[in-house]
Every structure is written in structure tokens, then in C-alpha cells.
Symmetry: C2
């Protein structure tokens, strides 16, 4: 199948991120805010919130699986926007967090201000997902393009669970990379079978594997902050033309 | 005329900003990014870019008047998004800039990366605006809610010029406060006669004067980052309900 988009290797993606923060003069706060906002917009577009029965009926939940790095940070920002919009009520699973990163601590505090609850074990994840209709979407913000297999504890059991039970679960939406996949090679021995992928900045090599892995796979692009000069340098000029008007995301 | 929105006094607005950054744990980078994005979205919604004659015809310009504080920062962010979207080609007028604020310096560098040009004198402003159809919108990001009249140099002459010539000029869009106005009292001896006001977080007292100052005044709300708890504390809960779906701005 021919590819309709340019891709960015893991190495190029890491260089691009560095360049956005040096030559581009972006702060990580800015980039993560725009990336997370794009993730929230894409989820809203593809899985709009269920119509509430009454004014007081609770919001449907979104289970947000947060990894230790920037991919997790994007998930925290997305969760905040979805809650601020009154679209979904996020439940956080964020078992491995940096104690010295003020930005991540602040992103969590912003969610606490919104009354967002946390869970911390696989048993709680199973219990939450066992309630019919309670969770509308699972957001996979565990690992990004710098992840190298194999999956390690404490995420190993969670990913194995998703991989085994995905047929009975709400749709899984992955940020940038389906967690557990190798960014360049694609699926490893575990596959969470994400329904939707949101590529940030530009699709990574495994995005091609993702769209070819089933007829119903949904692929979005977000993170509209690349300048034409940087896009040209990385050979991804076509990416800038994918967006129309003032949209922050686009379906590829 | 009865007011259809709650307002926030200058004092309350300053407290709210502080609270967003303390209890709310937001960084100024995050808030400014979201505020500036809302400004860009509102401009795009109300003054969509002119259709380009050919692929190579130049973008219409937006003259961005940037003040020394946060209001100016919002303008810099808005200019970047409009340029990134290929909507407008910003021309910056930013005569009084802090030398020790890294964020503002970075916001300017982001614009330079996009090839954005700067001008520095009133004569250049006059020359730019004298070219028929060259400039589509003037973005007034000079002063925000902490401004106290009178207007001082180097902005005095610019505001006097806009005030005198607004009938012959492109529409003026003001960020949060029409520059030169007192946030609580409204117009002073100079009035740039803005066509559109974008209230950030919540309208300030002078917004009421603005909408009542003419039948064609356009009023938008942006900055959708207030939690229900903070909104309740400041008596602006109704503001959260103005937005629909996942929109980042709304027309009031």
C-alpha cells in the first residue's frame, strides 16, 4: 500500500524536538500544551462525548494511562482539556513519576484542581473497565518515540492485559506510538490493538504499520507548530499542507 | 441594556491570574499559549483570510501592535499561529521590550523563524497602512487589564494616530481591553475605535461599554482554562457555559 504521508524516524524525531527547543525557541511547556490539546481535539472529533441523560448525570470516563516521559505529559494535558470542556471525566493511572520534574507535577496539580481521580494498580484498572459503559475511551500515553522494547514493570502487566482483552475494551487511543511497539519496526510480542493513533509533529515509521493493520484504524495528525524552514530540513513539507484553515488536527 | 455576561474587575482579574499560577499550577508559558491561540482563532473566525489569487500570491498582512507586558505576549503568540496556519503574514511593531524576560524573547524568535518582519516607527506604520488592501487586520495587543491611563511614549502617537484615522483603517481587534481605555471606566480622551474585542478568561468591566458603543461591535471570549472551582470563587460560573463542545473561543 502506498503511503500518503512523509514519516520521521525515531532519530529524526528526537532531533526535531531538540531543534524546536533550540533554533525554534519553544519551551517544553508550550509544545506539550499544543500537543496535548491536539490529542484532546482528536479524541473529541473521533469519539465525541455521549449525550448526557440529565443535567446531573455523570460524564463518561476516560482512562488515561500516563507514562514516565513526555508522552505521558501530553496525556496529562489532553486529560485536562477534555475535563475542562466537560467532555470526559479522566481517571489517571500514573504509576511511575519523576519527583524532580516540576512541569509534570504541575500538570497533575491542574488535574487535581478539576477533581480528577487517580488509581494506581492493575486491579483498579480491571475493576474500572469491568463496569459496562463507564469508560468511553482508553488513552494510551505510556510510551513515545524514544521507547525501546521490551516493556518493563510496572507497565508490563497493564500492556499484557490490554493486549489480551482489547476485544472487550473501549477503544484505545495512542499518542504518537501504540505503546509497546517499536517506533521504527512496529508491533513486538505485545500489541494493545489501538483503534486510533495521533501522530504528533509528523508520523513515525510505525504509523504506516498501524494504518495497514486493519480497515478501521483511525489516524490523526496534530502538533501544528513546525515552521516551513524546519519542515523542509526534515523532508516533511507535505505535512504542513495536510491541515486546512485554522484546524489544530487533521484526519489522515 | 442588560448584560449577558458576568464581569471581572481589574483587581479580580489580577487576583485570578495569580491564582491560576499558584493554586492552578499553570505556567505563564501555558496560559499565554492558550490565550494567544484563542486570539488567533477569534481573528480567523471573524476575519477569515482573503482567498489567494494564485498559489504564489502573498498573504494579506496583519499589523501586530505589541505592548511591553502580557497583553503583548498574547499578541506575539496569536501572530505565530496565524502565520503557521498560512492565514496572515504578521508585521510586528514592538518598540518597548523587556531585555530580561526570556519568554518574550523566545516568542519573538519563534516569529523570526517564520520569517516575520518588524517595523519600529510610526512612519513605517503609516506607510504600511497607506497601501490599499495590504493589511487586513490591525491587532491591538498593547495594553491589558493592568493599564492605567494616560498612554505614555512611545505608544502615545500610535494610539493618537489610530484614534484619528480609524475610519480609513482596516478593522482593529483588541486583546482583552481596547488599548487606551481604562479597564473599569472605559474610553478616556483617546479611543482607537476597535471593531472587535477578545475578552480573555472573562470580560472586564469596560467590555460592556465596548458592546454598547456601536451596533457592529464584535465580542469574543477566549482562554478556556478556568476550573469550575475558581470560576465559582470569582462569581463567573456562567462564563464556563458560554463555550460549546470543544471550542476554544465563543462569540458573545
Amino acid at each position: 500500500m502506498s503511503r500518503s504521508f512523509k514519516i520521521l524516524s525515531a532519530k529524526a524525531a528526537a532531533q526535531l524536538d531538540k531543534e524546536l527547543m533550540s533554533t525554534g525557541a519553544f519551551s517544553i511547556d508550550q509544545l506539550m500544551e499544543l500537543a496535548g490539546l491536539a490529542v484532546a481535539k482528536a479524541i473529541y472529533a473521533e469519539y465525541p462525548p455521549r449525550h448526557k441523560q440529565t443535567q446531573n448525570s455523570p460524564l463518561q470516563k476516560i482512562l488515561v494511562l500516563v507514562g514516565p516521559g513526555n508522552n505521558g505529559g501530553d496525556g496529562l494535558v489532553a486529560a485536562r482539556h477534555l475535563r475542562t470542556w466537560g467532555a470526559y471525566d479522566p481517571v489517571l493511572y500514573y504509576p511511575k513519576r519523576s519527583t524532580h520534574n516540576q512541569l509534570y507535577a504541575n500538570l497533575v496539580k491542574q488535574l487535581q484542581e478539576l477533581g480528577v481521580k487517580e488509581i494506581s494498580t492493575l486491579e483498579e484498572i480491571k475493576s474500572l473497565l469491568s463496569k459496562e459503559g463507564e469508560v468511553g475511551v482508553i488513552l494510551d500515553a505510556l510510551f513515545g518515540f524514544s521507547f525501546k522494547p521490551p516493556v518493563r514493570d510496572p507497565f508490563k502487566d497493564v500492556i499484557a492485559f490490554l493486549s489480551t482483552h482489547h476485544h472487550e475494551l473501549p477503544p484505545i487511543v495512542s499518542v504518537d506510538i501504540p505503546s509497546g511497539w517499536d517506533v521504527d519496526e512496529g508491533p513486538t510480542d505485545v500489541d494493545i490493538n489501538a483503534s486510533m493513533l495521533i501522530s504528533l509533529s509528523a508520523p513515525k515509521p510505525c504509523a504506516e504499520r498501524f494504518v495497514n493493520s486493519g480497515p478501521d484504524k483511525k489516524h490523526y495528525l496534530g502538533g501544528r507548530f513546525i515552521s516551513p524552514a524546519i519542515a523542509k530540513k526534515y523532508g516533511i513539507e507535505d505535512i504542513l499542507d495536510k491541515y486546512k484553515g485554522d484546524e489544530l488536527i487533521t484526519k489522515l
